[in-house]
């Protein structure tokens, strides 16, 4: 149908252009991994990984008490299904899906539930959350596992159900529920699964150790996830300085006989392990702002998540433990440990030799994005990939904060191509519409801008504050819009009621008048007939 107006032509051309762009993007996404692309900005950081990853993986001994948080994913707390004094086995469900956003939590070992209390969980606000406290009985006896016999024959829906009920969440630190992410992506159509083994943040080496020591489980998890999401191939991305890992993974892929799995080395540049940047490196495409990798037909999962998936589907064992890197200049014997979920951090630190005298800050996560803990009572959660203890020399501040000198180093380092100096000015001045326009929502909080700033402005803190404010304002606006609509609806209703009442009165009056008119007419007719009768008589 020919567009009648010039605007119609323009719109049609634009739609055609969009569709062609979309097709080109799909083609480019299908070529993922064939060659590597650069991404803007980023920093070359010192690794500090050898101090922890040379040591083989150790299992943490069971502590006196395990504090298993019921909030173990980005969302809401699970509903406890055990009571005080109840005997539980390892892998038994102790927390169940209650409402949208909550998930499943399992007992990390066998023992007795001693309480369900509020306890510090590792949330940046310092909030406490409900935890199931378990006193281990030392037997560590598993519940009857329920493995999926012959998983390649099972339907993707069933695989996803198992993944969800095993409480598997993104173990890269985001804690996003895996089953939800995978099924949501499946609906959009995924052709390539990407396993993210490029741990770009300094000090953290838990994924590297996992890939070196248990590559077969990763490959198995990759195959299961590939089937669950319906992808045609898998890419396992690792950093180019992980030589031993490369061999281990390649051998594991060969052993498994899978032919659609590629192990690709990507450049070691922070924050190359961030999902959007990794996709840009592998495909040259940018995930659209506000969109997800699934829009490009890609799905990213952490390698540890893949291992957990393999264990859940093939062995029938839910997620109850994870590898944690305990490291830093404030730890005597840095290493990677396999800790049960709910183990207090103090116990993990003790296993790593305890604190050195100069230990000054306890960080959950890496030095770039981790957040500090006030004390070590917090438990290991599913998101705890690293416990970093820094000493005073690591945290020396040579200069107090100065105003921004507009040097532009932050913009040069930003992987999202934002203008941190502008965002900083707008947020401090409270100019929220300009803040939103300058793209604050696209900030990945990697910290590159913070590190390069000569004025030592705490940019990430300001951006987090700005994001919270934008969200609060959006909520206020939504409330205000709702109130306005309801007010207008009410005014309309009152108006209508008034009109209806007026109409009823008018009709009644008219009816009365009509009755009066007809009565008058009848009276006249009667009078006329009477007169006639009188005249006749």
């Amino acid at each position: 149908m020919a567009p009648a107006s010039r605007r119609g032509t323009k719109m049609m051309l634009r739609r055609l252009h969009q569709r062609r762009l979309q097709e080109r993007r799909q083609r480019q996404a299908l070529e993922a991994g064939r060659r590597l692309f650069p991404f803007h900005g980023g920093l070359r950081l010192r690794h500090h990984k050898t101090i922890s990853c040379e040591h083989p993986l150790e299992r943490t001994p069971l502590p006196q008490r395990l504090y298993v948080p019921l909030l173990q994913q980005s969302g809401r707390e699970a509903e406890p299904v055990v009571g005080e004094g109840q005997q539980v086995l390892k892998g038994e469900t102790i927390g169940r899906f209650r409402q949208w956003g909550s998930g499943y939590v399992h007992a990390p070992t066998s023992g007795v539930v001693s309480a369900i209390i509020e306890h510090p969980i590792s949330h940046p606000s310092g909030m406490e959350g409900r935890c199931v406290v378990i006193r281990p009985d030392g037997l560590d006896s598993w519940i009857e596992p329920d493995p999926a016999e012959n998983w390649p024959e099972r339907s993707p829906e069933e695989l996803l159900r198992r993944i969800r009920e095993s409480g598997i969440v993104g173990l890269g630190g985001a804690m996003f529920p895996t089953a939800f992410k995978v099924s949501d992506a499946r609906d959009k159509g995924i052709h390539t699964l990407i396993l993210n083994g490029s741990e770009c943040e300094p000090y953290i080496s838990c994924d590297e150790v996992l890939m070196r020591e248990q590559p077969d489980s990763i490959v198995l998890g990759a195959r299961i996830l590939q089937r669950a999401v319906g992808a045609e191939r898998t890419i396992i991305a690792i950093e180019d300085q992980m030589g031993a890992v490369h061999h281990a993974l390649r051998d594991a892929v060969e052993r498994s006989g899978a032919d659609a799995i590629d192990v690709i080395k990507v450049i070691t540049l922070y924050p190359e392990g961030a999902e959007k940047q990794l996709i840009q490196v592998l495909t040259g495409l940018e995930v659209p702002s506000g969109g997800r990798p699934a829009d490009l037909g890609l799905l990213c999962q952490n390698v540890a998540t893949a291992t957990a998936v393999a264990r859940a589907v093939v062995e029938g064992k839910p997620l109850v433990e994870r590898i944690v890197t305990v490291t830093g200049n404030g730890i005597r014997k840095p290493r990677n440990v396999l800790a049960a979920i709910g183990t207090p951090i103090a116990d993990v630190v003790e296993q790593a030799g305890g604190y050195l005298p100069g230990a000054a800050r306890l960080v959950l996560g890496g030095p770039m994005m981790g957040f500090p803990l006030a004390n070590d009572r917090n438990p290991v959660t599913k998101a705890a990939n690293c416990i970093l203890v820094l000493n005073e020399e690591d945290l020396v501040e040579p200069q107090a904060e100065l105003p921004c000198i507009r040097c532009g180093e932050c913009a040069a380092a930003c992987p999202a191509r934002l203008l941190p100096q502008q965002l900083n000015r707008f947020i401090r001045a409270g100019r929220w519409s300009e803040t939103a326009e300058t793209g604050l929502a696209d900030c990945i909080e990697c910290g590159c801008c913070d590190i390069v700033c000569p004025s030592q402005i705490p940019l990430v803190e300001w951006f987090r504050f700005g994001k919270s404010q934008l969200r609060e304002r959006a909520e206020e606006r939504a409330r205000a819009d709702l109130a306005r609509r309801r007010f207008e609806a009410r005014e309309e209703r009152l108006d209508r009621q008034k009109k209806e009442r007026k109409q009823r009165i008018t009709e009644k009056k008219k009816a009365l008048r009509d009755r009066q008119v007809s009565r008058d007419r009848i009276a006249e007719a009667v009078a006329r007939s009477r007169k006639r009768r009188e005249n006749d008589a």
Binding site: E286, G370, E397, C407, P415, L419, G447, I451, P454, Q456
Partner: protein
């Protein structure tokens, strides 16, 4: 174990870059140029630097106290010292002491602190100070010295100090006896007297490739600038754009009329072009922040400098060019914003 820890926010690191560190590197990079300057034109420049620095630090401390800001913190960022040194390099070596005072009052108090202090100035403070004294005291500001080797040695330490303090050359000698025009002055005058540029080559004011003495000073600044580039203190866009556009426009003019326009080499090695390209136009606060914006900014500075040199009223136009581009910088920034990751091309 229940020991409390300090809870500073991410990122957790010990920073290596500081504003004071950056400014100090800029000062180090100026040393070769200052050395050449003192070699050829006497120690007057060192006195100017000292005077300007003392006034600048004093005025900055005063302004900070009046504004109730932490004095030691802001003095420690060396930005006042850099402003003072850049100003001192632009004034004649024997300028009276009150030139530095007036210049610093306008640079530090008015151009910097009235606009909000560090990070808030719209115009380059050194250039504001220089332009104010240039326009207000034209005779004093044009009393340049000849390079040593023409009329014997440059003035010594004592003579320089006395001249600067007294405002007059010592011993009753007049200014005309000791001052001489620079090459750019001669070129400007030649435009009105009709003398060709080529004839200037043989005169005393001409060195090997450009103004005697001044060519070495420019090379000294270029050396320092190259060091700053290698240390990544400044980015390549501004110097490349300033020098590139100045050379391009200068070459066009020279090709069009070689008799009355100097060759681009002379333009490059004369006046404050190299100093401006590496040290003045790269001032981050008053310039553009995006790389593309810096290219436009630098190109504007280079082009305007040559335009003022050829067709304007002043022998050297760098200061005015920088101030004019400072006015345009916010607009340039607005139009050269990078495309944000994940957003469509607008």
């Amino acid at each position: 174990m229940n020991r409390p820890f300090d809870t500073g926010m991410a990122p957790h690191y010990s920073p290596s870059v500081t504003v004071g560190g950056v400014m100090r590197q800029v000062l180090y990079a100026l040393v070769p140029g200052i050395a050449a300057h003192a070699w050829f034109f006497g120690p007057g420049v060192l006195f100017q630097i000292l005077l300007a620095a003392v006034f600048a630090i004093g005025l900055e401390a005063l302004a900070l106290m009046v504004r109730r800001k932490p004095v030691r913190l802001f003095l420690g960022d060396y930005s006042a010292v850099v402003t003072a040194v850049l100003f001192a390099l632009c004034v004649p070596p024997l300028a009276p002491w009150w030139i530095a005072l007036v210049g610093m009052v306008f640079a530090i108090l008015i151009a910097k602190h009235l606009y909000g202090g560090l990070g808030g100035n719209l115009f380059n403070p050194a250039m504001v100070g220089y332009v104010v004294v240039l326009v207000s005291f034209p005779q004093v500001m044009t009393a340049w010295l000849p390079a040593s080797g023409i009329t014997g040695q440059a003035p010594g330490w004592v003579d320089s100090a006395l001249t600067i303090i007294a405002g007059q050359p010592p011993g009753g000698v007049g200014w005309d006896a000791i001052s001489s025009a620079t090459l750019l002055d001669a070129i400007r005058n030649s435009a009105s007297t009709g003398v060709s540029i080529e004839s200037l080559r043989g005169t005393a004011v001409f060195g090997s490739a450009a103004g005697r003495g001044w060519e070495w000073v420019a090379l000294g600044y270029a050396l320092g600038g190259a060091w700053l580039l290698a240390r990544r203190v400044i980015s390549w866009q501004v110097p490349a754009a300033v020098i590139g556009s100045a050379l391009a426009l200068g070459a066009l003019a020279w090709l069009a009329d070689p008799g009355h326009n100097p060759s681009p080499i002379i333009d490059l090695l004369s006046g404050a072009l190299v100093l401006g390209a590496f040290f003045i136009a790269t001032d981050p606060v008053s310039g553009c922040t995006s790389p593309k914006g810096r290219l436009f900014f630098g190109a504007g500075v280079g082009i305007l400098t040559i335009v003022i040199r050829r067709w304007g009223g002043y022998p050297d136009g760098l200061a005015f060019a920088v101030l004019l581009m400072n006015m345009a910088a916010p607009l340039i920034d607005r139009f050269t914003r990078p495309r944000i990751f994940g957003h469509e091309r607008q």
